[in-house]
């Protein structure tokens, strides 16, 4: 060992002697260079110069943030809400004028149901108003449990969970399941709270064309090919289809049977938002599943709010325990928010009960003649109906090929306004129509729709209307199916001008529901 070492040393010294002089010089320089590098100051790619305290102070002094909110014009329409005095039942007092109410989502007329009110008062006397705690911390009342139980029974699902705010229901439910990296297929006309839920989930979102199953299938196929390419990732990537039962933006019903077929074909879960359809569609008001006769267990999660048909506050999700229980720990709106007000829960209990017990009740609210000059008629709602008739919560329910005419006229000094906002759905061979229109005094609103030869049609207007001061300005957003004639004429009575606009859009932009104040329209000389 020692001898070996020595031999190496000797060899090195020998090599040194034998090496040429230039080689030694070169090596010497290299060694010096390395030593210099070792002892020189650290080399920096970019010269860093810290700011001095004074410079910092100057920067702080100079920086001007943008104003917290941009300035707004004083006459922005949303700053001057219409003021409603008194209860918004079938008659409504808007800005001091009594009108017939076509605007509220009070489909079942339960808002002024005496029985509901009495139940609510009983509960108020027992439980007070607030719950003062989230569900986990003594915010669970016997009525909450009863309501969940009854909702589950009513919907024929294993379990239901209630939220205290309709808007937060689907917005909390989606991120409880769909996480970063998962894929959600969404109808592009999905309502705003779905969009918020998707945003909170941070999942990968793919929009398909409104109610277009071919487009959805195309996306699913694309995904399938993608999955085959990367099977390891595909095994942990959850997939969801999120659709609305009855679209608030377009008033279309989703083609649920086709969606269920796609679900099993491509192994995707379906989340169904039924805020508009719960209590409205189906023989007993159970929503789209009942309407189409789809097995409710085929839908992984159904969510609905109780602010429309049920005329209360809050929302619920229902489905199988396997799915729903998870929200009790992961639904943010459930865990971290104070539970639904008890007496409201109570009232909903009784509502569900009555809807359960007495299906097939038709409420006819108003059909009124206005001072001899014009007619306005409306059927305010129907809970359920026989299968073969037209079923609706409609201003007017009518059969195939019926001309629907709604004329309202301003009477001297006694203006009225009406707004229709509603839902439409279409059974396979029947027609249903529904309007959402809002007409101010002084406007003649005529809406004519006709059935085209041989084809059922469906059209819906869902919008708000704004009015400039003295010219007519009515704007619609309508989604019109192909082959539909939509004519809307509005006339100003003061004789100044006519304005008519047909505003066709198949689907609304992703995140807008309501319209800008007044889109351009053609002004025709009188």
């Amino acid at each position: 060992m020692a001898s070996g070492q020595q031999w190496v040393l000797v060899e090195m010294v020998q090599a040194l002697y034998e090496a040429p002089a230039y080689h030694l010089v070169l090596e010497g320089i290299l060694i010096l260079w390395i030593i210099r590098l070792l002892f020189s100051k650290t080399y920096k790619l970019q010269e860093r110069s810290d700011l001095t305290e004074k410079e910092k102070e100057d920067l702080i002094e100079e920086w001007q943030p943008e104003p917290l909110v941009p300035p707004m014009s004083k006459d922005h329409p949303s700053l001057n809400y219409d003021i409603v005095t008194g209860p918004p039942s079938h008659k409504i007092i808007v800005n001091g004028k009594e009108c017939i109410n076509f605007a509220s989502f009070n489909f079942l007329g339960l808002l002024d149901n005496e029985r509901v009110k009495q139940k609510a008062l009983t509960s108020l006397r027992r439980y007070g108003v607030g719950t003062c705690g989230p569900r986990g911390f003594y915010g669970t009342f016997d009525v909450h449990l009863e309501l969940e139980d009854r909702l589950a029974k009513f919907m024929k699902t294993e379990e239901a969970i209630i939220y205290s705010y309709g808007f937060a229901t689907i917005a909390s439910a989606i991120p409880a399941y769909s996480k970063r990296g998962d894929i959600v297929f969404v109808d592009e006309a999905a309502c705003f709270s779905i969009q918020k839920g998707l945003q909170a989930s941070r999942s990968f979102i793919k929009y398909f064309k409104h109610n277009d199953m071919e487009d959805l299938e195309r996306l699913l196929k694309e995904q399938e090919i993608e999955d085959q390419r990367n099977p390891r990732k595909a095994r942990v990537t959850r997939r969801f289809i999120v659709v609305e039962g009855l679209y608030i933006n377009t008033a279309d019903v989703c083609p649920l049977p086709d969606l269920v077929k796609l679900k099993y074909k491509y192994k995707v879960r379906i989340f169904l938002e039924e805020s508009m359809s719960f209590g409205v569609l189906g023989e007993h008001g159970r929503g789209v599943t009942e309407h189409f006769g789809v097995n409710i267990d085929d839908i992984d999660l159904i969510s609905a709010n109780m602010e429309n048909a049920v005329a209360s506050i809050g929302g619920f999700c229902c489905g199988r325990s396997f799915v729903i229980d998870h929200q009790r720990l992961s639904g943010q709106g459930y865990c971290f928010s104070v539970s639904a007000s008890v007496f409201q829960a109570r009232d909903t209990v009784s509502v569900c009960f009555s809807a359960f017990v007495r299906p097939g009740i038709l409420f006819l609210c108003v059909s009124q003649r206005l001072s001899g000059q014009g007619y306005c008629f409306c059927v305010f709602l129907s809970v359920c109906q026989a299968r073969d008739t037209v079923s609706l919560c409609l201003p007017v329910s009518f059969r195939l090929g019926i001309l629907f005419l709604c004329v309202s006229q301003r009477l001297s000094g006694q203006g009225y306004c009406f707004s229709v906002s509603a839902s439409v759905f279409q059974a396979r061979d029947t027609v249903s129509v529904c309007f959402s229109a809002f007409v101010r005094p002084g406007i003649l609103f005529l809406c004519v729709s006709q059935r085209l030869s041989g084809q059922g049609y469906c059209f819906s207007v869902s919008a708000s209307v704004f009015q400039a001061r003295d010219t007519v300005s009515v704007c619609f957003s309508a989604s019109v199916r192909p082959g539909i004639l939509f004519l809307c004429v509005c006339q100003c009575l003061s004789g100044q001008g006519y304005c008519f606009c047909v505003f066709l859009s198949v689907c609304q932009a992703r995140d807008t529901v309501s319209l800008p104040p007044c889109p351009p329209c053609w002004l025709l000389p009188p």
Binding site: Y81, V84, P87, R126, K267, D325, Q344, S421, S464
Partner: protein, 548 residues
């Protein structure tokens, strides 16, 4: 018109700045020395002894090991798996949950879940009736026996001022409103849901807080999560306290702004972040930030600490940041007349750019509000998501808020509201000082009606909750996901409706349970103070009469 109006103040600002730096010096000084500022009351976060931390980790280690063992048994088929299963038809779908996600629920939470979600069947007042539950299978399922445990002292509800009440006389107006309007509104504010009573409520809230304008919404959680995105966006910076509520965090995330977190109530940490943000600007591009918003809460619901508002206002003014204050727990509960933390510190409410709060706690109702300058509220009315798309608040609930707020403000011609605010402050001081004397480690500010008692070990959390229920006291215990892993705690929420007798009962039982379970971890010595509290039950009784 709007444009010109906007450019004028901008011009003014510039001239001010260019004019002289003297002004800004005064400005700073003003921020620090406000006229009637109160000193921050002591706030303690006592460290637990070392062995406690070791035992806590050990406890979690053991339950985790047992969890794996049970999972192993389940996989072998030796133990029945009781968790709900996927449908047969969907077995070949991608699993809805990852296995590890459920480990905690399956093995830890299931064992102890009887401590949460206890159903009650009465008013959540100072006492309530808990429905008795039994579980035949170690908490996998519960069965209600139909019996109730009556008159359990309620230390869990956020009923700070005792307005969760069912006295028919007090609720007359609410009942009338229900009779008149029904329960819902069935429309959004922008459509046909803007009732006159909404406007009345908003005016009253603004008057109560001493700000220009306010906006009320149907859910407290959504007030945060849906309005923050309207205020800040890309290119803005949010400085958020590390213990902020989930709703604030969700709102910040949805907004798309950059979020930086500062240490809880730590002004050095906040100032460092502010300085750095203003000096270096946005990452990579170094463009200046568009806006910087500081997000804090008035009272932190898990810590019981009160925000250091005077310092934050001074910092905010110096660095020209905006301040978003969430008064969910503090509104009504602190301040000499219940106006929240701004009043507690004697600050001008106009120094707070965005003031947010809820009606669920002190007001015994539901919903939330956002208040501030008129421009702010007007803007939110038009652009905030929840104002535009969600249903309007329910009339009876608004009536309850109106009733309570008028009561606190004394507009109903009585001093009941003020008496309650004072009673709450008195209860808070009494309860906190007695706990400290007993040797519990409690967190938070001496003024805060939220009192967390530290329990640390996971086993003790459950034992404590069960033992207290046996003694007919309902407490809230919180563990790991809501708190740091080593700091499980029990949370007591005081109420003006708690009488002295009730508090003494709770303290007596706490003392015994604390000894039994060895919960008195504090190493500080509190000299037995002269009793400041009136011992002859007079105050308690008088409060009782007032509250009815």
């Amino acid at each position: 018109m709007g444009r010109t109006a906007a450019s004028v103040p901008n011009g003014n600002l510039k001239t001010q700045l260019n004019g002289n730096k003297l002004k800004s010096a005064i400005y700073k000084k003003n921020g620090y020395h406000n006229k009637a500022q109160r000193f921050q009351r002591p706030e303690s976060f006592e460290q637990a002894p070392m062995y406690v931390a070791v035992m806590t980790y050990l406890g979690f280690g053991i339950v985790t090991l047992f969890g794996y063992f049970r999972d192993f048994l389940r996989a072998m088929g030796l133990e029945k798996c009781q968790i709900a299963n996927e449908r047969e038809e969907q077995k070949d779908f991608v699993p809805l949950y990852q296995d590890f996600e459920n480990f905690y629920t399956r093995n830890l939470y299931m064992r102890v879940r009887d401590s949460w979600n206890r159903p009650i069947c009465s008013l959540p007042g100072p006492v309530f009736d808990v429905m008795e539950r039994v579980s035949p299978d170690h908490n996998w399922t519960f069965r209600l026996t139909g019996k109730t445990i009556d008159n359990v002292i309620n230390m869990g509800s956020y009923n700070y001022l005792g307005f969760a009440e069912n006295n028919a006389d007090f609720l007359k107006t609410v009942a009338a409103r229900t009779q008149q309007y029904g329960l819902g509104v069935c429309s959004t504010r922008q459509e046909m849901g803007n009732l006159a009573i909404h406007e009345e409520l908003e005016r009253l809230v603004a008057a109560f807080l001493g700000v220009e304008s306010s906006m009320a919404l149907g859910m407290g959680f959504a007030t945060n999560s849906m309005n923050i995105p309207a205020l800040v966006g890309k290119g803005c910076l949010i400085l958020s306290d590390e213990l902020n509520h989930t709703s604030l965090i969700l709102g910040a995330r949805l907004s798309g702004a950059t979020i930086r977190v500062f240490k809880h109530n730590n002004m050095q940490s906040l100032e460092r972040l502010l300085r750095e943000a203003v000096c270096t600007g946005q990452p990579r591009t170094h463009r200046p930030w568009k806006k910087i918003m500081i997000m804090v809460e008035g009272i932190y619901s898990m810590e019981g600490s009160v925000v250091r508002l005077p310092d934050i206002v001074a910092l905010k003014k110096k660095y020209k940041a905006y301040l978003y204050l969430d008064e969910a727990h503090s509104i009504g509960a602190v301040g000499p007349t219940g106006r929240g933390v701004t009043e507690l510190f004697g600050l001008d409410p106009s120094d707070i750019d965005v003031m947010m709060g809820t009606f669920t706690k002190s007001f015994g109702a539901a919903g939330g509000f956002i208040a501030g300058k008129k421009e702010l509220v007007d803007y939110l009315r038009s652009y905030s998501h929840s104002a535009v798309y969600s249903s309007a608040m329910s009339p009876p609930i608004m009536e309850q808020i109106l009733r309570v707020m008028k009561c606190i403000m004394g507009l109903d011609g009585t001093t009941v509201g003020q008496a309650r605010v004072q009673q709450l402050a008195e209860n808070t001081r009494y309860f906190r000082s007695r706990l400290q004397e007993m040797g519990f480690i409690i967190y938070g500010n001496d003024d805060s009606p939220v009192v967390p008692i530290l329990l640390y070990m996971p086993g003790k959390v459950v034992a404590f909750s069960r033992a207290m229920l046996k003694r007919k006291i309902g407490v809230v215990v919180v563990g790991f996901p809501a708190t740091p892993i080593t700091e499980a705690r029990a949370r007591f929420c005081l109420s003006a409706s708690h009488t002295k007798a009730m508090l003494d009962q709770v303290l007596f039982d706490l003392n015994e349970v604390g000894d039994d379970l060895c919960l008195k971890f504090s190493q500080r010595k509190y000299s037995p103070r002269p009793q400041q509290h009136n011992n002859n039950d007079g105050t308690g009784q008088s409060a009782n009469i007032l509250i009815g």
